[in-house]
Symmetry: C2
Subunit: 336 residues, 2 copies
């Protein structure tokens, strides 16, 4: 690698003069500048990126957290799309390890104090997320992949996000099933208060009530919940079918739960004819022939990068004035 | 963020003096140094990472390529393990986009010319890989996840690698199946000359010949090949069964091919009792109840980081003298 010292030696000037030619050309005599420029060209000198970044006060790097083990194929796929979109904008993607929100905040502090990162992308967002407060208090640029899920902060300009409209996707699936003759459509969701989970359940509920396929009271008997793993889903599916043996389709909140449901049905009466659908269109859904819902990850990555770039260009004082920073993208139903 | 100028103002000295106190303390008077040190402490000034790196000539960053779409759950899982291992050593992981070997070499050139990256991790290695030559010619530190697969370069100290012993894993699986009463064990591999694919096939061949379960001539009728996708694997499995209806187990080179084989069998005689095994222990293998072979990715990540660190510590002139830079790790068979 050619260094600033090599250029200085070649041009017969001091390294400080070369540095001035690059960073403060005004204070260097024109003749000296030309001499140094010729040496830079001859030696093919590339100013060190760390040096250049120091001048620009921009690292051209964004950071995204990654858990110690792969929890979701969707986040892994988003990473691929994100690197492609970032590369097109000459932006680097750096990863940091995250075990918990507190751990992640420690990483924000380190990465931002060192000026290594221009912006953060947050995933796995929840209501009252402490990461959002920290980033806003420390005037860091960020965008969520997922919604903040609070009544008060959903359209707050200081909390930009890109998300996929799960409610819309599940409603599309329910409508498709009804159009194809299914009448008693069950739902298996996640337990507890998950913003994403509740939103997806609403999609099923909207269509079931709207198409008069169920009354308000019936919704409870037609639905059940399971942790996001196969065994828990098998139990939930068996329980649901015992309660409602008339069920002819089951919409699940995830492909993992759909897999468990499919396995429970296969272990039961064999060819049951019950349509099972999941969410995320994973390799498993494809292998098992499950219907699913595909998230538009390339488009999501593009919108995340667009929002980051617009906010960085506006600067810390004006970034909350940037429009169009809450983007809900429609997913696509996949029928097998 | 506190800057060097803030410290200078606070200490009543020039920014250059503050810089000298940090980078060339010898040339500053002790009294001035103490004054500046007190200001640094009072203002909680952290030297900018770009500035610090410039001095250290180390970016504390490693880079790994990532394809535009997720091709393998194994690489995605490795990424998680790698970030965890790197974090423990205070090393950053940055991603770059790669479409082809040539594209990747362009990325090497950019990342190394800018001094942004200390070392590279290469995946998807093949015999005569042009990336390896480029990195060695340009004296860059790197390590392969996968072997170079050349007779001449397998134990070349200038081509360090970490890999998982697929031959060993497949042989373990074949032995397990024979111990559990299987006699006619087929194999579905990849077509063409894949180092990894041939190595895995050798594991099956070793055991079949060693246990006298097949003659050399029989190996061809007991094996077939398929592209790494479900449909191609279904066809190969059907063809294999037509040729050898006595087959009672099929070992596949990947989980994707095992999935295709399982689907072909299910579409045939129903409960066939044929044991199907894959490779990589993906979520799909778990969902479909397939036997598989798990790669030790945490251990792989640890070895990759160890080799990089040892080579960086040795420096460019001595790094090829570092021992223990060819590591073959045993995988684990998973029986379901």
């Amino acid at each position: 690698m050619v260094s600033i010292k090599d250029v200085a030696r070649d041009a017969g000037v001091s390294p400080q003069t070369v540095s001035n030619c690059i960073n403060n050309p005004d204070i260097v005599k024109p003749a000296t500048r030309e001499l140094v420029a010729a040496s830079i060209k001859r030696l093919k000198y590339t100013p060190n990126a760390s040096a250049r970044r120091l001048r620009m006060q921009r690292s051209n790097t964004i950071a995204i957290g990654i858990a110690p083990t792969s929890r979701s194929q969707v986040y892994d796929r988003l990473l691929h799309a994100l690197v492609t979109e970032a590369d097109a904008r000459n932006i680097r993607v750096t990863l940091y390890k995250t075990d918990s929100h507190q751990d992640e905040i420690r990483q924000f502090a380190a990465l931002s104090a060192q000026g290594d990162v221009d912006a953060f992308i947050l995933t796995d967002t929840a209501h009252g997320d402490p990461r959002i407060n920290w980033l806003n208090e420390h005037r860091q640029t960020f965008v969520l992949f997922g919604r903040p899920w609070g009544l008060d902060d959903m359209y707050d300009p200081s909390v930009p996000w890109v998300d996929v409209d799960g409610r819309h996707g599940i409603a599309d699936m329910a409508q498709y099933l009804i159009l194809h003759g299914r009448k008693h459509i069950g739902f298996i969701g996640w337990p507890g208060l998950s913003g994403t989970g509740n939103d997806r359940r609403m999609g099923w509920q909207d269509v079931m009530l709207g198409a008069r396929m169920a009354t308000e009271d019936e919704l409870d008997t037609l639905s059940d919940t399971a942790e996001d793993e196969i065994f828990s889903a098998q139990i939930a599916c068996t329980r649901l079918l015992e309660r409602r043996p008339d069920i002819d389709a089951i919409i699940c909140v995830s492909d993992t739960i759909a897999t468990g449901a499919r396995l429970a049905l296969a272990a039961g009466s064999g060819d049951d004819g019950i349509a099972v659908s999941g969410f995320d269109d994973t390799a498993t859904a494809e292998s098992m022939g499950l219907n699913s819902i595909a998230q538009p990850l390339t488009e999501s990555a593009r919108e995340l990068m667009r929002i980051i770039q617009e906010r960085l260009d506006a600067g810390p004082d004006l970034q909350n004035g940037v429009d169009d920073c809450h983007v809900l993208l429609p997913p696509k139903i996949i029928i097998r």
